[in-house]
């Protein structure tokens, strides 16, 4: 018996189930960026490529689908 290829629930059900998890993770990212800003000598990480990656990944989240997760993985991959 094959697993269904598509997610077996309606989009609204999926949103209902995962919305609070998504909200919590977005707040965690926001709070972490705030924490970095409040840390000593924040100017030392302004040009850090990891923060550039975070900004690019957030842009992927704002873009239309599909496969946002794959695109973020590729952003973080050495060429």
């Amino acid at each position: 018996m094959a697993l269904t290829v598509t997610h077996p629930r309606l989009a609204r059900e999926t949103l209902d189930i995962y919305f609070l998890e998504v909200r919590a993770r977005l707040l965690e990212i926001a709070a972490t960026l705030d924490r970095i800003d409040r840390s000593a000598r924040p100017e030392e990480v302004v040009a850090d490529p990891r923060l550039a990656f975070v900004r690019e990944a957030l842009a992927v989240l704002q873009s239309a689908g599909p496969e946002r997760a794959r695109r973020i993985e590729e952003l973080y991959s050495l060429k």
């Binding site: 018996m1 094959a2 997610h7 629930r9 794959r70 991959s77 050495l78």
Partner: protein
């Protein structure tokens, strides 16, 4: 619900974890040889291989769990070619042990030339092992099963591509159906499955995949030739992450026969290509 954990490093876990796994329905574990957290001497590897083939199966048996393992020099210690040569010379005699399924987890760590060289030597050893076990067998004799580690984080995509290219260079001597490529994520799973290999997803609290993303990948790329593992070791990890992934699939509404297929039958099918592996695929019968 029965489980087989296809990739877990039990030498790093407590006896209480064995009990936890047994209580949670795990009937068999497969333990690839890996890095100990520090680089070992060749003699240290021999001791480790004895632990995997002698002591660990006895510890698992106390809880009714079948313990299987894989033998190799892990890629993180493959940079020293002299040491690699010494360790590889010891591997053959362990491949004949009754709980050894094949060669693994070989692969790449930082994608260096030396790692690639040792990876190719291991693959050749898997090909030669089958011929040695069946002396006089034809060249069509299948090679020993191979379990492959793909690199971490930003090295994973490049490393996976390199591994696939190297395997392809062996031509018909390598049967993709007898190779499991582990730690796939969203950007590598399609490469692996499209090439005909088995794919493993590792569920870690921070790196690799989460239960939710793993079930997403099952839905997007299909459950065929796909395994899920906890890969629990001495780092931040959880031996019940395979179960958490099953739970995520269940709460999405995937039916029991599908769950049994992914979390029990698929590893039984892949490992069962070696007759030493005892658990057989099963099906759900509604009475």
């Amino acid at each position: 619900m029965f489980f087989i954990d296809p990739h877990i490093h039990m030498v790093s876990r407590t006896t209480a974890d064995y009990e936890l796994l047994a209580l949670s329905g795990v009937v068999a574990v497969s333990e690839p040889a890996f890095w100990a957290g520090f680089d070992r001497s060749p003699a240290g590897f021999v001791d480790y291989f004895r632990q995997l083939t002698e002591f660990e199966p006895a510890r698992a048996a106390q809880f009714g769990i079948d313990h299987y393992c894989w033998i190799c020099l892990n890629p993180k210690e493959a940079e020293d070619l002299g040491k690699a040569r010494e360790v590889l010379a010891e591997i053959s005699r362990f491949l004949d042990q009754p709980n050894v399924l094949g060669i693994g987890e070989i692969g790449l760590n930082k994608n260096t030339a030396n790692e690639a060289k040792v990876f190719q030597q291991h693959v050749q050893m898997a090909i030669d092992a089958a011929h040695r076990q069946a002396a006089g067998a034809s060249p069509a004799m299948p090679h020993a099963l191979i379990l492959i580690h793909t690199p971490h984080l930003q090295d994973k995509l490049k490393g996976t591509r390199l591994i696939l290219e190297m395997l392809k260079d062996f031509g018909p001597a390598i049967d993709p159906g007898r190779v499991l490529i582990d730690h796939v994520e969203e950007h590598t799973i399609k490469l692996v499955k499209d090439a005909g290999y088995w794919a493993g997803m590792t569920i870690y609290p921070i790196s690799k995949a989460t239960p939710q993303r793993a079930v997403d990948m099952m839905e997007m790329y299909g459950p065929e030739r796909l395994c899920v593992n906890a890969a629990a070791d001495w780092g931040v990890s959880d031996p019940l992450n395979t179960h958490r992934t099953m739970h995520e699939a269940r709460r999405r509404g995937h039916p029991l026969p599908v769950l049994l297929d992914v979390f029990y039958n698929n590893p039984a099918r892949f490992f069962g290509q070696n007759p030493r592996f005892k658990p057989k695929p099963m099906q759900v019968a509604m009475l």
